[in-house]
């Protein structure tokens, strides 16, 4: 399976679009490419393994806070059947045993990116293909990874470390 973070609300149908039309905001917001590549993470269908993807995403190099994320999951074969080339690359996560799980969809053009959107659209709208990770769930995953010594807290941004030390405003009250 392949998994990727998406903004679920951007895929919801708008009244000014016809049935089956996909919002431009979904493409520009959730399928932003760099060097014509689109980042994914390998995982199994098992929920615990999808947690690993969430962990990799939750401690990415730019991350400074814990925000709820939605992860869409789909069989890699569907992308292969759609003629979308994949290439394993090192993932930008400080969890070393997850770095090898990173995959790029490569050589994308507007037509192939459109194919990705068409594949994702029905899955994002169906409840069972998207896994939601709340702030508390992400923090628990990161805490566990640090405890299990899979992740060095010093590899996290300072702000993220502060958030782990002071989980929520609720505890300050």
């Amino acid at each position: 399976m392949l998994a990727r973070k998406i903004s679920r609300a951007k895929w919801q149908q708008k009244e000014y679009l016809a049935e089956g039309e996909i919002r431009a905001d979904a493409i520009s917001g959730c399928l932003r490419t760099t060097d014509d590549t689109l980042s994914w993470w390998r995982c199994s269908d098992d929920e615990k393994d999808i947690d690993e993807v969430a962990l990799a995403l939750a401690v990415g190099p730019m991350i400074e806070r814990f925000d709820k994320i939605d992860v869409v999951v789909l069989p890699e074969a569907i992308l292969a059947d759609a003629g979308l080339a994949r290439q394993s690359t090192e993932g930008g996560t400080p969890v070393k045993d997850l770095q090898h799980r990173h995959v790029d969809l490569v050589r994308l053009d507007i037509e192939r990116l459109g194919r990705v959107a068409r594949i994702l659209d029905p899955r994002i709208r169906s409840d069972d293909k998207v896994v939601q990770f709340t702030k508390a769930r992400l923090m628990a995953l990161v805490d566990t990874a640090i405890h299990d010594k899979r992740l060095d807290a010093n590899d996290l941004s300072e702000k993220l470390r502060e958030k782990l030390a002071k989980p929520s405003d609720a505890q300050a009250s």
Binding site: S28, M62, R65, D127, T134, D169
Partner: protein, 275 residues
Amino acid sequence: MANVLEAKARPGTNTVKRPWPNNTETPEPHQDRGQDNPPSPDDLVQLESGSYVYTINWDRKVQFTVPASDDQDNAIQKTHGANLSSRLQRVLPFVALYTPLAASSLAEVIERLLRCDALIAPQRVRDSASTQPRRRYDRFRTKLIATLLDEAIEDGVTHPAESLIDEAFRADSSDCQNWLSQVLVEHYPTRPSLCASIVRCIGRLDYDRVRGWGMRVVDDALQNRDIEVREAAIRALEAWGRPAALDVLRRHKDAVAWLNEYVRQVVVDLSGTSS
């Protein structure tokens, strides 16, 4: 019209001298001029454009123009035995005194005083106190929207709009709250995604900075018909994590299943920490 506070006076004969005691003391900040604080001779200045600028106090000026007319000059001369400048000098010091009594704007009082006293019909009366806040709001709004359109908000990643809002909050939290509320009201009908981004930025502020105002913004956003706006509101409540946030979430029933599931999960998460 030139900026009231930045306009340059006409060189040479620009200053209209007054027949008042020559008190050149600088007024205290925020102290409107009254009987105990007589004007200095340069409180009334005629600009190169012909407009007059009357200084009320250190941060408040009013600018207006008086169309030149021989009939008007003759009428003033006949009634008061003075020319236009002299009459303006005589009348304007009463403006600051009458404005609070009349419960009117300073611009309205100037218009009435000049019309009644000297049959002068001032035009384009502009009070710096009423235009400055609007200009500051416009600047903030323009910058905020440009920043949000330039770069989408990413989960977990600090957005440049946050420092813009933080800066405005530090300058004047009450102004900043009003501005943000106003931007939302103006843009909810046509730009829900932009508003969702603003709500997300608000949700990233410390709860202690937003408190009741923040809860009202989020409460309002929860009722919005747009899913992105409602999701942003739930994110804010999740981030703040206070008992008040938990109460709002417990009451909220969303029409969209996955959003409802998000609410349910956050309620479970927060129930463990906010008791």
